[in-house]
């Protein structure tokens, strides 16, 4: 997985005066998710969104951090969420940048899964970018079963599921 940076990439000028120098700044780090995030990631490896409910305020967090940020208590009850949610807000990305892996333009949206009280970011596909809107109902499209892994890469993207848009009042608290 690790590839050493090629310091000559983009900076090598083999003829004429040298005018530029490639000086990438790179940070390599090893990430180990904690107990709560590992639960969410293992759920993704099974093609499921797993969250947790706060015992006090009853809010469902997905992904869960293992505690409720409002009440400061551990979240102990596991909740499996469905595949369907609502776009609360979105951004159409038109600007290319280094390392971009998705063809522009594309839609990056906050998706609030049904039954959850926390939205998370997802890619929206199978719709022209000028037709995305707040309240749009979407469903997750997963990778093939043999490609599932403990990573958000298990979710290829979300796409409109054809239901009528959600009423603004149902998601206005999550913007």
């Amino acid at each position: 997985m690790s590839t050493e940076p090629d310091v000559t990439d983009g900076g090598a000028e083999t003829e004429g005066p040298v005018t530029t120098l490639s000086t990438p700044i790179r940070l390599d780090y090893a990430f180990t998710p904690g107990v709560a995030q590992s639960r969410f990631l293992r759920g993704l490896a099974q093609g499921k969104f797993l969250g947790q409910r706060c015992p006090k305020c009853k809010k469902v967090y997905v992904p869960s951090r293992g505690s409720c940020p409002t009440d400061g208590v551990p979240t102990t009850e596991d909740v499996e969420l469905g595949n369907v949610g609502t776009v609360t807000t979105y951004c159409v990305v038109n600007v290319p940048f280094a390392g971009q892996s998705i063809e522009i333009p594309y839609i990056c949206a906050q998706v609030l899964l049904d039954g959850a009280n926390l939205s998370f970011m997802g890619l929206i596909q199978e719709i022209p970018t000028d037709q995305i809107r707040m309240g749009m109902r979407v469903e997750a499209v997963w990778v093939e079963p043999d490609e599932l892994s403990p990573s958000l890469a298990s979710v290829r993207y979300f796409r409109p599921n054809g239901e009528p848009d959600a009423d603004y009042d149902t998601f206005k608290e999550y913007l």
Binding site: T20, L21, P24, R26, D28
Partner: protein, 161 residues
């Protein structure tokens, strides 16, 4: 995947900066690609290596470029017993400040010797350039400095390490 297995992932974050080097550093890097080391004449005729656009003492514009080296004297050095991934060598080496012949300032580079016993302040060392086809206009066009007795390579002659 068993629950007992700790999840782990390698992440890499990189900002791909490409810097404009300007006329003086540009000439220096072009010189390295050509297998030569260039300094610049500053106020009072001192030769500054690597070259700068302004004299570091008087802030005046510097003057003509002059070729220096490729050999010089080790002014001071530090031994690197455990090279890190970003270091220019994978085996132990010395960082050294080297005052090249014809220069009045010292330049930092790596010296390739097997062990710290092989180097002393005041030793003469010489640049070992990479082969001409591998040079890109960067400090790494000099593979390393080596003790003069073991011979370096004039990059312009096209010889390699």
């Amino acid at each position: 995947m068993p629950e007992s297995e700790v999840l782990h992932a390698e992440h890499h974050l990189e900002y791909p900066y490409l810097r404009s080097v300007g006329p003086v550093i540009g000439a220096f890097l072009t010189g390295l690609r050509d297998g030569t080391i260039l300094g610049v004449r500053g106020a009072g005729g001192t030769v500054i290596v690597p070259p700068t656009e302004y004299d570091p003492i008087t802030s005046e514009d510097t003057g003509e470029l002059v070729e220096v080296g490729p050999a010089g004297v080790v002014e001071t050095w530090a031994w690197v017993s455990h090279p890190l991934p970003k270091h220019p060598r994978t085996t132990p080496f010395a960082w050294a400040l080297i005052r090249l012949d014809g220069a009045d300032t010292a330049m930092l580079h790596a010296v390739d010797v097997d062990k710290p016993d092989g180097l002393a302040t005041g030793d003469r060392v010489v640049a070992r350039f990479r082969p001409a086809g591998e040079r890109v206009g960067a400090m790494s066009d000099i593979d390393a400095f080596v003790p003069e007795a073991s011979g370096g390579s004039r990059g312009a002659a096209g010889a390699g390490s």
